[in-house]
Amino acid sequence: MNENARDKAVIWVHDEMLSLSWLGYVRRAAERTEIVGAVFVFDDTWVADERLSLKRLVFMAECLEQMPGVEVRRGDVVQEVSAFAEAHGTTRIVSLASTSPRLRRQGEQLGVDWVCEPPFVELPARIDLKRFSRYWGKAKSRVFRTTEEIMEQA
């Protein structure tokens, strides 16, 4: 297989992955893919909808300051991330999976390939989440292990 056959992708860095370590993590998970760039977009709609105050934006900006190589933009997330990918010669976008409905919606529109973060606890599918106590009843025997131990058993 020649070099060109290798997929190219960009990383969409969102507000739940503001550490450089996720970039390495996503890169490793998306094996066989050449990562050609990473972009974060301050989401104008989110800032307006949640009426985010200045200190929150400053906090995120300081996180991004310690993530060299990530381009920082503002505006419409879907539009900006697509444009960034296109400028880097690809339509493929990878990112860290999130439970936020806002990020999921945007990811869906972008056709993102999600990479899951290491599990905090592995639980059977469809456990009862009506109350914390029900979740904890299942979680407590499995959560006092390191990620390495959890992965070994998976």
Binding site: S19, K55, R56, F59, E65, R73, T99, F120, A139, K140
Partner: protein, 263 residues
Amino acid sequence: MPTLRRDFESRDDLIAHYREQFPEAAAVSDWVSDTRGGRDAAEALLDNVDPVEYGRTRNHLSGAVTRLSPYLRHGVLGLAETRDAALAKVDDPSRAYKLVNELAWRDYYRRVLAEIGDAVWDDREPYKTGLDAEDYADDMPDDVTNAETGNDFVDGSVRELYETGYLHNQQRMKLAAYVVHWRRVRWQAGAAWFLSHLLDGDVASNNLSWQWVASTFSHQPYIFNQENLRQWMGGRFTGDSVGGGSPFRGEYDEIKARIFPRA
């Protein structure tokens, strides 16, 4: 192309850039927290975590809480990574029980969010206060958001929220209970107000905690009295209002009769 600068000479330089770029955010609140963003600050805090001390003192305002929430919220630290770090600090996992249990609340709320999505803004269940959702006001009262209620706990906590973007869990529970139960405001209004000021603002933990306080995601409303407030506030707040009275004074039955007259 709306690209933002990413290299700054100083913190002031960065703040000035963002203040200029987002005047609407500065208009919501122009304060900047002493809490610094970034992996370096997160690692320094993680190094200082003491799971055993945490288990003993976390409910006290001056207790050994971690202040990791803004970093966990933004993935500067992972939840599994933080649990691993906590376990590495103790010789037996049971000595980190309380901290791992609290981290699990975050995991739980995120799982609930994954299941319900935008319905995180809807009442999960009816209020168990003897009142209907319609009995609650839609908007936050100005005296609360302006920190002008005259109560030392309420006004002091609101100012702290604005200035630091952080509140201790006890302050969050009690301030939320004051807003929903004493002032009879829909939890949604309070939750939205918190989200705009908290550095860790997160629809999962925030909205579902407000619902827990309100009783739309629990069996009963969370309330407290002045004695309980003083027990955890380490002398920082008395719960007294200007003029000497307090909305929190009395036994639980008396308070309930006042704030839930139809229960």
